[in-house]
């Protein structure tokens, strides 16, 4: 190491929003004030993944892990840790159960123990705005190899050996996409990166682009050389300004360094990458819709085949891969496909990044080998369900996926197993639900999303989705009938078979999955007019019982002034006016307000 000490400050969107930049500037200032800036380097890196504990500051070489750091803590961190070599105990990460004293370093943290960081290896380690740091970590070695040492067929063979499958959702073997495009004759071909991360509850692509943008640029250039394309497009959500900013810097630096643009590394190969912004349409994650959007049109899908690999952007052969897929490729070329294939399961090789969120103690971005069990993810990495609540299910695959219940906690997670369980890998959202979450309500939430995001082109998706939503609304309002369930099953089957693209084909998945695993909850809503989780607002009533001492705390809290009663007398809730926000229940210290 060039410096004696390193201070790594997380500069991902989540930490950035909690003043990471100010922390960075304060640390710089303090390093200079204490005259240790010559031997210590402060860096703003990509995401560490442990977003809930942010802003995070990590010290090297001793790997101290400081959490919830505030800008004003900079002085103490520098004076104590850097100058005096003493850890600042109050800021060190604490185990959630508090049984042990402060955890000292990253290796001791459960959240990281089972993780294997391949795609994220540079995230939280290098300064993403400095190409030299990427190069120092073997960056662009793979590109050099592809330009000078190995043939296009070798590249595709390595990808085949690696067993890499698309990380965007469907899991199509990457080497086959590349081979189709390579073998199609055309005067022009295109390389497209799908960074339109639309799945609500997944943010791995954003973190990769923010933390290690050059990995994606390098992989796209490799793809260009392999299939004979000279132009690449990164289609990224406009809602990710920081990722766009870092990509712009990375493209500029790569061009200046002769690693992108004309005559790359004097090999005679030309490749340019342009950033194109998405504009908030989930359907644009579908590849033909994405291409329509790139062409400046409404992002509506067209029937396949022909597949984009053969006839894509402006009718030319086009490779479309997702961000995480690309980010895997430099290491595969550098270290060989076999090293990638050493991790994972029979049909799903390598690692996968998941966004672990929802009702989980340690929420954040994790990277694990394929084949890990859900139990390991939820209880070991995730630290279990907070507030002593009971695990209910995990939703994978977002609005296109389904729920995995506790009986399948020990099933290995890979592409095929998740599909077998009635869910799917999707882009890697993993949303944990506890006993307070209603299966019907969550399903309605997803359907509302897919109805809103349906492009309206094909009838099964446009009308079927709206119908499904209508039934779910009826059921959560306490007006459902048993016939509704049958109708939902029928419509779901029709949508799966007849929709034009994956959005419509998978939109019924949350319904099919919850009808399978939580049919009893549907029945409770329909037959007993009750929401067992107490979530569906139309079906719950808040009532005040005899424990009420008339403290008036609830009266003051009620947003619609529907609670009345004299001081020190039992209060009453006007059910007609109540909006069922539950604030009164939360504020009551005497358990006098109950839901029924």
């Amino acid at each position: 190491m060039r410096y004696k000490n390193y201070v790594l400050i997380c500069g991902g969107t989540a930490c950035e929003s909690s003043k990471a930049d100010e922390i960075y500037r304060n640390i710089q200032k303090e390093l200079e004030a204490n005259n240790v800036h010559g031997e210590t380097q402060a860096l703003k890196t990509g995401c560490f993944g442990f977003c809930e504990k942010g802003p995070i500051v990590k010290m090297l070489p001793d790997e101290s892990f400081y959490v919830h750091v505030k800008p004003e803590d900079a002085k103490e961190l520098v004076e104590e840790h850097i100058v005096k070599g003493r850890r600042v105990t109050r800021l060190l990460y604490n185990k959630p159960d508090c049984t042990t004293s402060a955890v000292a370093s990253v290796d001791d943290i459960d959240f990281y123990k089972k993780q294997v960081r391949v795609v994220l290896r540079n995230c939280g380690f290098i300064d993403p705005e400095d190409i030299n740091e990427y190069i120092a970590r073997d960056g662009y070695v793979a590109l050099e190899k592809v330009l000078f040492d190995i043939s296009a067929d070798d590249v595709i063979k390595e990808l085949e050996t690696s067993g890499l499958r698309g990380r965007g959702g469907a899991g199509f073997p990457t080497w086959r996409k590349w081979m189709f495009t390579k073998n199609t004759e055309s005067d022009q071909k295109f390389i497209v990166c799908n960074a339109d991360e639309g799945d609500p509850g997944a943010y791995m692509d954003r973190s990769i682009l923010e933390g290690d943008p050059h990995a994606v640029l390098e992989a796209m250039t490799i793809a260009g050389k392999t299939v004979g394309a000279s132009r690449g497009y990164i289609y990224i959500r406009a809602e990710y300004p920081l990722a766009i900013h870092r990509l712009e810097i990375a493209i500029k630096q790569a061009k200046e360094g002769g690693l992108l643009g004309d005559n790359i590394l004097e090999s005679g190969f030309n490749f340019n990458i342009e950033i194109r912004l998405g504009a908030g349409a989930f359907v644009c994650g579908e590849e033909t819709a994405l291409l329509a959007s790139l062409e400046g049109k409404r992002g509506m899908p067209i029937p396949r085949p022909p597949f984009p690999a053969v006839k894509g952007l402006w009718g030319k052969p086009t490779i479309i891969n997702n961000v995480e897929t690309y980010a895997n490729i430099p290491a595969i070329i550098r270290n060989g496909g076999a090293s990638f294939a050493a991790k994972g399961t029979e049909a799903s090789k390598g690692t996968k990044v998941f966004a672990l969120t929802g009702k989980i103690a340690n929420s954040g971005l994790i990277e694990v080998p394929m084949g890990i069990t859900l139990r390991e993810i939820v209880y070991e990495i995730g630290g279990g369900i907070p507030n002593g609540k009971k695990f209910k299910a995990v939703q994978t695959g977002g609005p296109s996926g389904g729920m995995i219940t506790s009986e399948f906690l020990d099933a290995p997670i890979d592409f095929d197993n998740l599909t077998k369980l009635g869910s799917m890998m999707g882009s890697g959202g993993m949303i944990v639900m506890d006993e307070d979450d209603c299966a019907v309500d969550v399903t309605k939430f997803y359907l509302e999303f897919t109805v809103e995001e349906s492009c309206g082109k094909c009838t099964p998706c446009r009308i079927g989705g709206a119908q499904l939503y209508h039934y779910l609304e009826k059921i959560t309002n306490g007006e459902g009938t048993m016939e509704d369930i049958e109708s939902m099953r029928k419509i779901s089957r029709a949508m799966q078979k007849a929709s034009l693209c994956a959005l419509g084909q998978t939109a019924p998945n949350p319904i099919i999955s919850t009808l399978k695993f939580f049919e009893d909850e549907y029945l409770a809503h329909i037959k007993d007019r009750k929401c067992p989780a107490g979530k569906c607002q139309k079906m719950i009533r808040y009532v005040i019982n005899e424990k009420c001492i008339g403290c008036t705390a609830c009266v003051r809290k009620c947003p619609v002034n529907c609670i009345t009663g004299e001081k020190k007398q039992m209060h009453v809730i006007d059910q007609a006016a109540c909006v069922k926000c539950g604030e009164c229940e939360r504020v009551c210290k005497f358990a006098a307000i109950v839901k029924n």
Binding site: S17, G201, K297, S363
Partner: protein, 159 residues
């Protein structure tokens, strides 16, 4: 109500040069609309009309594209745009309550703007900060892990 005919309008120099740069690139429309919205904070009808003439794309087609994507705004938003994240993680952790509280505080509906033009309210799909759920953003500022009773204080900061 019939809308009046749009008229050609003078564009800012920044927008003019952007259009000049992108004019001949294929598939430029979405990028130009992004730039328009960045400059004006929404896409005024007259500007859309002017862009249509400059790019040689019919106005109807431009409106087709504008209305397809959620990101493009046809109405002038308030000075501060408050966005409530309704991604799955935020929803499970009470994003809908934050939205209800903001509607109550500002006395406007979703996608509405306060009469004084100070605030607009919208719900967005996912900000990508799921570790901080539930959260809202006010302009560029992010407020994460937000309990409902803290919302009023945040709004007051921008009044």
């Amino acid at each position: 109500m019939a809308e009046s005919m749009p008229v050609l309008t003078e564009l800012t120099p920044e927008l003019e040069s952007f259009i000049e740069e992108w004019k001949d690139k294929p598939g430029n429309l979405v990028m130009v609309l992004h730039k328009v919205q960045q400059v004006y904070r929404y896409i005024p009808r007259d500007v859309a009309f002017t862009v249509s003439r400059k790019l040689g794309i019919p106005l109807a087609k431009i409106y087709g594209v504008m209305t397809f994507y959620h990101y493009f705004k046809l109405e002038k938003p308030g000075e501060h745009m408050i966005s409530v994240c309704m991604g799955t993680a935020c929803y499970l952790k009470g994003g809908d309550k934050l939205l209800a509280e903001l509607q109550r505080l500002l006395n406007i509906g979703v996608n509405g703007t306060t009469e004084d033009g100070k605030f607009s309210l919208q719900s967005v799909r996912c900000v990508g900060c799921c570790g901080l759920a539930p959260l809202i953003t006010v302009g560029p500022d992010v407020y994460g892990c937000l309990p409902t009773d803290k919302v009023a204080g945040i709004v007051d900061k921008y009044r």
